[in-house]
Every structure is written in C-alpha cells, then in structure tokens.
Symmetry: C2
Subunit: 77 residues, 2 copies
Amino acid sequence: MSKSIFYHAGCPVCISAEHDIINLIGADNVEIVNIDENRNRISEAEQAGVESVPALVTPNGHTLHINFGASMADVKG
Amino acid sequence: MSKSIFYHAGCPVCISAEHDIINLIGADNVEIVNIDENRNRISEAEQAGVESVPALVTPNGHTLHINFGASMADVKG
C-alpha cells in the first residue's frame, strides 16, 4: 500500500488526532477509516496490529497507536 | 513554532517510531529531541503535555502520544 490508513471509532480523542494527522501528513496521504461505521474493516485493522484507536498504519505496515480513545474490545463490544 | 517536536528517550519503541514519523512527515519538518540525553528539555516536554515517550508535539501544540516506550516518571527516575 502507498497510503497510510488512520483507523478510528468516532470518539473525541479520535477526531482530534485525525485532524492532527491530516495536518501533519496531508489528506491525500492517508485513508480515514471509521471502524465503528465500517465494522467489516475491524478484522483488517486487527490483522494490521491495531490494538486501540486511534491508530495509524504506515505504508510499510507499522502501527502507531496514538493517544488512547478506545480499545478494540470496546469497539467490538 | 513551525516544526513538530518528537520527544523520545532512546528506547527501541522510540527509535522505531522516530523512523516512522520521519518517513511520514519528513526530517525537515520535525525536531528530534532525546530527553534522556538532553535532560534540560524534560520540563519543556512536560509543559507541552508529554506524559510518555515517544510523543510528537504538533506545530499547533497538540501532543500525540505514540505507542508506549516509557513514562516520563521512568525517564526522570
């Protein structure tokens, strides 16, 4: 993949981090995925190593967990 | 400030995140500060809201805690 993917779940911490990430790396360089609204992408996020949201998966596959909004268990619950 | 500041303490999690951040936003756009080696910048980091490292303080003053390397208490201890 060439873009980063930012996974979030709509929480206030997530939205704030989303704005910061877009400001830092540019909207064209990141796909924003709300896994609470797009629940079929939860397993993809987990396979990428996402343990909590918000998280940014970089083009080389590293997962950066940013601050702490919600655990994946909370999102799935 | 116009650059982001990436605070870290030399831990493996920190170094990995440092590489990811430089890849994402570019080395010219971020100042890298090792607060374990530059201990006189610990208070500055704390005042910026850094509670653990690695952390990125954005140009607009938001603090993004990335993954978890060490708490500030550990760095200071």
